[in-house]
């Protein structure tokens, strides 16, 4: 009897690989011109954390009390 679990694992890994490739490719596409403004607004949110590239080094308390300690990193 063939081990069907190997096929299931293979299918799961293939699906995951496709999803990762799709996500990675999406983030590499050039930003459409009409969305520039929106992206700039979003990046304002992100900038706070950009000086700290790890989930641990951002001990910034925001208005809604959602801080970003390292614990968020897991």
């Amino acid at each position: 009897m063939k081990n069907s679990n190997r096929l299931i694992m293979g299918a799961a890994i293939s699906l995951a690989a496709i999803l990762v490739a799709a996500d990675h490719t999406k983030h590499r596409l050039p930003t459409p011109v009409e969305e520039q403004e929106q992206i700039t607004e979003q990046s304002n949110i992100v900038i706070e954390g950009e000086e700290d590239a790890s989930p641990c080094s951002m001990n910034i308390e925001s208005d809604n009390e959602v801080s970003s300690p390292c614990g968020f990193g897991d």
Binding site: N5, A53, S67, G71, F72, D74
Partner: protein, 401 residues
């Protein structure tokens, strides 16, 4: 007598080994090309962690269950030893004793969210059949039921990230670092003393119940150390040493302790967003590192690539040991416990600032008080989870032969 080479060829699942090795090589080179060498090295560190977890079968949920049911403490003693060794290495680095190495602690606020989250996680560990690290390495081993647990772990973590703002507003005393409060030397001594007392306590309880004490060595001995290294099983000592070294490497390379479940929430939220959902309104993803992670490639996230590494490393180890994808059937009851367990694991981990790795190991070993609270609440949840397993007839009643 068969030579070692012949034995390796007999045991090894060669097609899987070759595919995994090709995958590891390809992804390492890709990460180095697309990002930097550090990203590739962190992926390889994950490979090492996965292989170590798999070879030494270093788990948390089983170890807790064996202690709660039968007072068998070898797994818990191994965990305490690992936490102690990591503390010994982490405390001075976090305190800045070596100025050229800049690292951060895994801090989390001490409050209701950790108590509830870790308690839920403790129950989920027993129902789902694995913790954060355990789920990943058993998926790598090819256990299909753990794929179900992982899928719902991701859903739970995503739901948790949606609700986290509400939970964090509940009573808490904020983040408490015992390194900052006491100085790293005093804090380290105190922590090691507490770990030693716990070690002696669980050891005493095992001796009292079992009349004997299991040690960290493995009972399966192969002919040579090389053969044992390649095919396993490893002793718990090898596991402890391997995990300690790789945790230190992670701390230095990433700049913060090893973590796992942030990536699960990230994956789930990205999938939800791709399906048309709006995650930008969730406070958790609206600023800081989470927002940054959400708005860039998933491969740029350190926890993601390390999680991929853990799965790949466990897969490689399982294939080398000839144990990849065991032919286990999934019953309806197992399916349901994997679903419920996975949801509890994911939701609990998000509330508790991490799983048994990021919250418990990372938290305690980097001097955050929330790690100790995690341990108490998580273990309490584990007791409930073990009782639930008996109630669901997954395990025999206590004391049954």
């Amino acid at each position: 007598m068969q030579s070692i080479k012949a034995k390796i060829q007999t045991i090894t699942d060669k097609p899987v080994v070759l595919m995994v090795l090709m995958g590891i090589l390809s992804l390492s080179l890709f990460l180095q090309h697309e990002f930097d060498l550090r990203q590739a090295l962190l992926f390889l560190t994950g490979i090492g962690l996965g292989a170590t977890l798999m070879y030494a079968l270093f788990g948390f949920s089983g170890a807790w269950r064996f202690f709660i049911r039968d007072r068998k403490s070898v797994g818990i003693r191994a965990q305490l030893t690992l936490i102690g060794l990591c503390s010994l290495l982490f405390f001075p680095l976090i305190a800045g004793v070596i100025p050229s190495i800049s690292v951060s602690a895994a801090m989390g606020q001490v409050g209701v969210s950790v108590i509830v989250g870790a308690f839920i996680f403790g129950i989920g560990m027993q129902l789902g059949g694995g913790c954060g690290s355990g789920t990943l390495f058993t998926v790598g081993q090819g256990q299909v039921d753990m794929l179900i647990t992982l899928a719902f772990f991701i859903i739970g973590a995503t739901l948790g990230s949606a609700h986290l703002g509400w939970w964090l507003a509940l009573p808490n005393i904020g983040k408490v670092s015992i390194i900052n409060e006491m100085g790293w030397q005093s804090a380290l001594v105190l922590q090691l003393v507490i770990l030693f007392i716990l070690y002696r306590l669980v050891r005493h309880m095992e001796l009292k119940r079992q009349q004997k004490l299991a040690d960290f060595s493995t009972h399966t001995q192969r002919e040579s150390t090389i053969e044992q290294l390649i095919h396993g099983p490893w002793s718990l000592w090898w596991g402890i040493i391997g995990l300690t070294i790789l945790s230190l490497v992670t701390l230095i390379l990433a700049g913060y302790p090893w973590s796992i479940t942030f990536a699960f929430g990230l994956w789930g939220s990205k999938i939800w967003a791709a399906l048309g959902g709006d995650v930008s309104s969730w406070a958790y993803w609206s600023g800081g590192y989470p927002a940054k992670a959400l708005n860039q490639s998933v491969l740029a996230d350190v926890t993601t690539i390390m999680d991929f590494g853990i799965i790949g490393g466990a897969m490689l180890a399982a294939a080398l040991a000839g144990k990849f994808a065991p032919k286990d059937k999934i019953t309806t009851k197992r399916f349901l416990t994997a679903v419920i367990g996975g949801l509890l694991l994911g939701y609990g981990a998000r509330l508790a600032f991490g799983c048994n790795i990021g919250g418990l190991l990372g938290g305690i070993a980097s001097g955050s008080l929330h790690g100790w609270l995690w341990l108490v609440a998580g273990f309490s949840g584990g007791i409930v989870g073990v009782k639930a397993r008996v109630w669901l007839k997954l395990d025999k009643p206590y004391g049954a032969a």
